[in-house]
């Protein structure tokens, strides 16, 4: 299970808001939590169980981070206000920092649906089952999340004219 889902769990944690420095620890906690309840997990539901556990871990990490930021300024916010050079836009590390900034400014509800749909490529049906919310709610959140994401990316690149596709 670790070999099959290690990258998946790490990616969900990171994109859902776990700071880079804490991803390894939360990956371990996620697998331990699932291992301790393996008897409750259907053989074909391991990924879903890991996903739900990882999302809870990330939520906890975000809350912890938010408490820290009540004391300190957000580094990510400062970073994304810096003007970008074209070559910087395509730099992988820089892209990761920018993505963190954009996702970090989205509301938790929109971010979660956005990450699961756009980055994990889950279907809306799967997202509804994972989050235990109606499909209509998923569709609504996804529409708003995509618009929000594109607005923020346009603001980063200075572009304001494109429309959000759906």
């Amino acid at each position: 299970m670790v070999d099959r889902y290690l990258d998946f769990v790490a990616r969900v944690l990171r994109n859902a808001g776990t700071p880079e420095a804490e991803v390894d620890d939360d990956v371990q906690r996620t697998f331990i939590a699932v291992a301790n309840r393996l008897d409750d997990v259907r053989p074909d539901a391991e990924k879903s169980f890991l996903l739900q556990t990882a999302l809870r871990m990330a939520a906890h990490a975000r809350r912890t981070l938010a408490r820290r930021r009540e004391v300190h300024d957000s580094d990510a916010q400062l970073r994304i206000q810096t003007p970008l050079q074209p070559e910087q836009m395509l730099d992988q590390k820089r892209a990761r920092e920018l993505l963190d900034g954009v996702l970090g400014e989205m509301s938790v509800e929109l971010r979660t649906v956005f990450v699961l749909y756009e980055l994990e490529e889950l279907s809306m049906t799967e997202i509804a089952a994972t989050l235990r919310i109606p499909q209509g709610t998923v569709a609504s959140r996804l529409r708003r999340a995509r618009a929000d994401f594109r607005d923020r990316v346009r603001a980063l690149s200075g572009s304001t004219h494109a429309e959000v596709g759906s």
């Binding site: 299970m1 670790v2 070999d3 099959r4 290690l6 990258d7 769990v9 790490a10 990616r11 990171r14 994109n15 991803v23 390894d24 620890d25 990956v27 371990q28 906690r29 697998f31 331990i32 291992a35 301790n36 393996l38 008897d39 259907r42 053989p43 074909d44 970008l84 836009m89 395509l90 992988q92 892209a95 990761r96 920018l98 993505l99 954009v102 996702l103 990450v115 749909y117 756009e118 980055l119 490529e121 279907s123 809306m124 499909q135 209509g136 569709a139 996804l142 995509r146 994401f149 594109r150 990316v153 346009r154 980063l156 690149s157 572009s159 494109a162 596709g165 759906s166």
Partner: protein
């Protein structure tokens, strides 16, 4: 309700594409697998992980487990260095060595293998978990080209290890039977797993499932005997609490 086209399929800018790519391409760190297996008690020792990486392992590991790792690394490192020197001298004494590039080939292009790695892999038999091939695989994945003792040890494995997916499928069959309250079918599936994967990487999980199946089929004595043996060998395994629960220890 149809799913809309994903943004990465129709990005409106290179920046948007780069950001989405960054999100999709994130992978676990190189040491994350080892740390996670350690935390799960599935690889008693940190395979070829450097001592610093072991030291960096998170607080999810117990102090006891960490101290065992540290002792194993120190003791085995002290054995490995003289052994390596002995063989190094022996090979030097056999005459002039060929040019390094020809002699070692890709090994010289690979990062150096920590001297601890080989004995740590070997030591795993006594340290905690029996997933030797999994540990070796971990060592290989981190140092793929180094002609180390770890690689030599790995040669004792079957030439072509069966894919992990096949092992998972075999164990899934056993788990499904157990969840349907059919321990006899689970035991049959586990017998099949043992025959098909005598060097399986998931033998530890298979043993736990067997204990559960024996307990649920009313073979309490056999289940208890196996559970006690399991707990003696793997007292710190994350699976230990499940094993205790099956037999009421």
């Amino acid at each position: 309700m149809t799913d809309p086209t994903r943004l990465l399929d129709t990005p409106e800018s290179e920046l948007e594409r780069a950001l989405l790519d960054a999100g999709r391409s994130y992978t676990a760190s190189s040491s994350s697998r080892t740390k996670t297996l350690l935390a799960l008690g599935l690889t008693g020792v940190a395979t070829s992980t450097a001592p610093s990486a072991v030291a960096a392992t998170s607080s999810t590991l117990s102090k006891g487990a960490l101290s065992k790792v540290a002792v194993a690394v120190i003791v085995l490192g002290s054995i490995a260095v003289p052994v390596w020197r002995y063989f190094h001298r022996a090979s030097s004494a056999q005459g002039p060595r060929p040019a390094p590039a020809a002699h070692l080939g890709a090994a010289l292009r690979a990062p150096p293998l920590p001297v601890e790695s080989a004995p740590v892999v070997e030591s795993a038999k006594t340290a905690a978990a029996p997933l030797t091939s999994a540990r070796i695989e971990g060592a290989e994945s981190q140092q793929p080209a180094a002609p180390s003792a770890a690689t030599a040890h790995a040669d004792s494995r079957p030439a072509s290890a069966p894919p992990l997916a096949a092992e998972l499928a075999a164990l899934d069959a056993a788990r499904t039977s157990l969840s349907r309250s059919d321990p006899s079918a689970a035991l049959l599936a586990l017998d099949g797993y043992g025959r098909n994967f005598p060097h399986g990487r998931l033998r530890l999980e298979a043993e736990v499932l067997r204990i559960a199946a024996l307990a649920k089929s009313g073979q309490s004595d056999a289940a208890r005997k196996r559970a006690e043996a399991f707990l003696r060998r793997h007292p710190d395994s994350v699976l230990a609490s499940r094993v205790r629960g099956y037999v009421g220890l």
